[in-house]
Each structure stands twice: as C-alpha cells, then as structure tokens.
Amino acid sequence: MSTTDLTPADFQQLQSGAAAAQTPRPSLSYWADAWRRLRANPRAMISMSLIVFLLAFVSIGPGLWRVDPAAQDLDQIGIGPGADRQVTLAEPFQQWQPSISDIALADNPLGLTLAMPANTQAVRLIWSEQVPQQQPQQTRYRLYRNLFAPKDTGSFGLPLAVVDRSWFEDRLDLQPGTYHYTLVALDADGAETASAVTQAVDVIRVISIAEARQRGLLDAKETAELGQSLELAWHPLGTDYLGRDMLARLMYGGQVSLFIGIFAPLAFVLLGVIYGSVSGFLGGVTDQAMMRFADFVVALPFLLFMILFKVIFGIGPGESGIWPMLVAMIILLWPAPARLVRGQILQIREEGYVSASRLLGGTTSYVVGRHMLPNTLGVILVTMTFQVPSAIFTEAFLSFIGMGVAPPTPSWGAMCNEGIKSMLTRPHELLFPAMLISITVLAFNLLGDGLRDALDARMRGSE
C-alpha cells in the first residue's frame, strides 16, 4: 500500500466524459486486434499481397492480354519464353524431284549431303548410291533424326524411314533449331551395318508470302520479297505443345484452379458449419447420430471417392467438369469443419456469457448468431484458409491423372499434365503452371499460419 497524500480536491465530482479522455488507447475489438496482429506479420502480409496479385492476374489479366487461350499458333509450337520469333519469307512448298548428278556430294563415307538450305518446310537429304559387290540387290538405308548429337549407335534418335533410294525429304514436325540426321546402311537382311554417318542440319523458320498474309503478318497491299524477315506473334511465356499461348492459358487456367480452390472450401466449410452447429446445439441422441454419420464420411478414402464421383457424375460433351468436381469435394469434405465447429459450439455453450445472454432473454437464434458463431468464426476462417491449398492440390492432382477438368478448358493441373509429357525438351510447359500452383499454395499456407497466430491466442507461438 502506497501512502499518497490525498487532498479534498481529489474527492470532487468529475465532469461526465472526463475520465474517458484518460484511457491510454482506444479499446480494440477482437477483429481489430486480430487485424493489427496480422498486419505486424510480414510473412502474412506478403502472402496476402501475393494472393491479391494472383487474383488480379486471373481476373484482370485476360482483359489486358487479349489472346484467345484456345487459338493455335502453328508457326510457333512449343516455343520457350523469349524464343526467336524471326521468320523468313520463302517460296511456297514445292514437290522435290531430286537429280543426284546436280549436287556435289559431301566428303563422308556415305556422301550424306544437304541438298538445299534446310527450313521448316522440308529438310532434303541426298547421299551416294552404294552397290556392294557381293550383294547385287539394292542397298537399303535407315535414316534417323535426333535433337542431340548421337553418342553411340544406340542414340541415333527417331527412326524416320527405311528407304531404298538415295534421297529423303523430311517434313515431319520441323521446328527451327539444329537436328542431327544419321544415315545407316542396312545389309541384305535389314540389319544395320557399321557404315553410318551423322550430319548436323540447321533448320530456319520460313513462311510463304501467302501464309504470311493469311496470318496477318503482312497487309494485303504490302509488298514483300523473298528472304525478307518478319516477326511472328509475341508469346511472352512461350506456347504449349499445340501452339497455344501460355500466358493466356495460365490466366484462364488460374480462373478454374482458383475458383475451385476458393469456392469449394467456402461451400463445404459453410455446410460443415451449419451441420456442426446444429449438431452441437441440439446435442443428445441427434448429435450422436449426426456425428456418427460424419465419421463414416470421413472414413471414405478421399481421393478414391473423388475419382469415383467424377466417374459417377460424368462429363457431357462441351462441359468443363468444374461443377462435378466442386460437388464431389463438398460431399466428401464437409465433416472436418463440422466436427471442428461442433466441438467449439459444445465448448462455448457452457461459457458464462452464453448463460448471461440467455438469462437476459436472448432467443436461441440470437444466442447462436450473436455469440456462438462469431466466437467460432476465427477458427472457421483459419480452417478455410488451410483448405484452399488442399483444394487446389486436389484439382491439380485430378487434372494430372486426367480425371479433372476436361480439355480444352485449361487449369493449372491440366497444364502440368500436358507439360510433363514434354518435360525434357520443353520444360517451360510444366514449370510455369507448377510454379503458379506452388506460389498459390505457399501464399495460402503462410496466410493461414498468420491468421491462426492472429486469431487464435492459444495457438500463438507454438509454430
């Protein structure tokens, strides 16, 4: 006990409102306090801005980058970001009638020579006819093509053809770049002999004037001459295996992924909240029965039943398969939030303030709406945030095994599924959607951590 000297002045009545001015700081509501704590958490704030950025990317993005995600650019199939988009004007493709005597053959064992400058229309190869003495019949050859320089006889690459003449015209899916052609002479039984020769060929991208006009690279009136170089349409993140613009597909795919990722948790958490609060509030036998049912649904192997539901609902022609996935998720995932909310409600039901509210004449709906649900809202919000990454993963997983959204609807998971097939030669097709999935999941996970720390005082500091 301190001994303060009190004077009669201390006992004078204060003016009304004077005491309030002395409060050191305004009292904070639960939500204002939580918001203040969340703002002090840099990781949560960075994740939040990342999420805002991603939402803008998928919602505003398509308005800024007006490229049809389904349009195919056949001149630029599977190109990486920042790829060379020069194209040279050339004659339209014409049939080739080789006359071997016109061309000086290269100085290699089989005389494999590039007959004309190679371009994306055709690579024309010619070689010397060899007629072995002991085998009067015509020699046959096998021609291989590889993107990499062959190291040994096992790595010649793609067998293009077996021919019995001494020339070959390759028109198979030619892309600008370097190809390594290997010619192997076959013996009478069709087995490969040791005489093989490899030739590297640089292929340049060409387009005929008519094609250029058709694709809008040249105006109808504009004159152009052969050999002139033009620029093809710009794809900042490259194109996929069908020549579709990656950036546009990522934007539209993100719409699907984020839609499922955000709306599925919203829906099943809402369902779970209703179910759980009814169960927890009613209590007794009803509660027991309702929770037993929830236990059974929890026991269903989630991904197996996700796939089953997808099969059951089926996807009609022209449908994207987003709704069946959403419905399946809601059917299977509501029990976890329901259990959580029920536990919370049971706990809160016994709290003093609930009894007080009842005592003061609060109706059931008032008590539930004013006291019980707002007090569980923090936990619900945290659960929902953590459910977003798993919903996005589920969508990605299902699309990855081909049970997700139906092509041509893009989704990040479906794009990964397509990209993984050409992962070794065109990694960008896998990496971009995979990175976006990872960033989204990471952002929601960190935001969830931050929200939990901010909203749930008990959980603070445990992580």
Partner: protein, 311 residues
Amino acid sequence: MLKYFAKRLVLGLVTIWFIASATFFGMHAVPGDPLAGDKAVTAQIRANLAAKYGLDKPLGTQYLIYLGNIAKGDFGISYTQENRRVNDIIREHFPISATLGILAIVFAGLGGVLWGALTALYRNRWPDVVIMFLVILGISVPSFVVAAISQWSLVGLNVAAGTTVLPIGGWGSVWHMLVPALVLGLSTMAYLTRLMRSSMLEVVSTDYIRTAKAKGLPATQIFSRHQLRNAILPVITVLGPAIAGITTGGFVVEIVFAIPGLGRYFVQAIQQLDYTVIMGTTVFYGAFLVFMVILVDLLYGLVDPRVRVDQ
C-alpha cells in the same frame, strides 16, 4: 483395452460396409454400360454376358450378392480383361504399392523426426531456417511436380555420369524404389517435420524437462530419453492418416515412374470403366486404411502408457 478395440473393430467393419455400399450404388449410378464394348453383339450374346456377370438380376439382389462376395473376400472378375479375377490383380499389384509405401513411410517418419528434432534444437538459427524453408517448399510443391523434377534430375545425373546410376523408372531392384519412395514420402516428411518441431518446442517447456535438468542429467540424456520420446507421440498419431495420404499419393508416383503398382492400375481401370476393378480396389483400399488407423491407435496405446490407462 480389449473391449475398446473390439468396439473399434466393429465400427471399422461398419465403415467398410459403408464404403462398399457407397461404391456399389455410386458405380451403378454411372451412366453407360459395362457390357457396351467395341464389338456389336446380338441380343442373345448380351443376355448371356449379363447373366454371366449377374447383371440381369434386380439391383437389390445384385447388392446382396456383392456384399456376400465381399464378405468372402471375392471381388469378382474384371470386365475388360477376361477371366482375370480382381483378387489376382490386387494380389499381383498391391505388394508393389505396399513396398513403395512402406519405404516412403520409413523415409518420411525417420526424416520427419530427424529434421524436426534438428530444427527444434537449433531454433531460430540457420539450420532451423533452412530446414523450415525446405519444409514449406515440400508442402507447397505438388507431388507430381516433385516426381517430374526428380525424374528429370535423374536423367541429368545419368547423362552426366555416362551410365545408369539410378534407373529413371520401372520396377525390379532396390535401386528402382529409392527415388520414387523418397518423392512419395516427401510431403509427409515435411508435414511430420513441422509437427515434430512444434511438439519438441512444447515438450522443452514442460516440468519434467525442468526436473531432469535440475537433477543434473546430461543434456544428451535429457534430449534422447525425455524430450525426443515424448515429442514423438503426436507424430505416431498422424501416421494413420499419413499412410492414407501415401497410398493415394502413390498414384502419381506410380504413373510418373512407370511402377506397376495398384494405384496405376486403379487409374487405368477408371479410364476403361472397369467396374469390378474400380469397386474392388476402392473397397480394398478403404478396408486397408480403416485397419491401418486402428493399428496405429493400437500402437499408440503401446507406446504411450497414459493412453492405455485412460481407455
């Protein structure tokens, strides 16, 4: 204790019945017809086929027959592969998935405990920061991307070494299992590391640790005898759900690494609408998971004496 597990077992069986029924009625609601093949068949052949597979009977009878067969452990015959019993398919492919899964669980469990303990030991110092960063990465990157990237790195490794250091796919030797199992266990490992870390940090501030310190026990003994042993308990509880995650996560790894496991077979059966295989595999997996969770609870009772007394 025994009574508790008898109750669990009964509940487990009811759960399996629920799974089996949900699968049965679900599959029968699928539009389409399992007998609609590529070949045009006459009405007589169709009727014969329907009789062979019991499809001509009313749905209720079919359901009872189906339940009876499941009780006998018979999942029927594949629709798309003639004369191949679903039991044989499971017997042939499940051991492969199980081997991979067990190895993945071992990786995940050992790794999770080790990394979790390390991060707690070096709290807020660089090993903690580095490991937790990797953990966040492990949780955020989808498993198929991890699988693809690790396969890609394997290709790079083999090319750089000039020989096959590790096979990039397929099944056969221990070497085939190593990388797929690691990939399969990775996200579980990341999750367990987080759990282990928070559990370790919780244990550090308990009274019995303080008592052990006050008694003058060496730090290593406190760590191994008291801290680690108690911190591991929550890790064991989540092993049940983790096994579930790993068995289904196996689909992706089996597809990417071309492993002939049951997961890959299941996906194939779905694409071919092979009803009996889908139903059999789902019920089998469901039963497997239900028993795994019970088994883990049993294990938990053995490890933690407090639970034993409580029940």
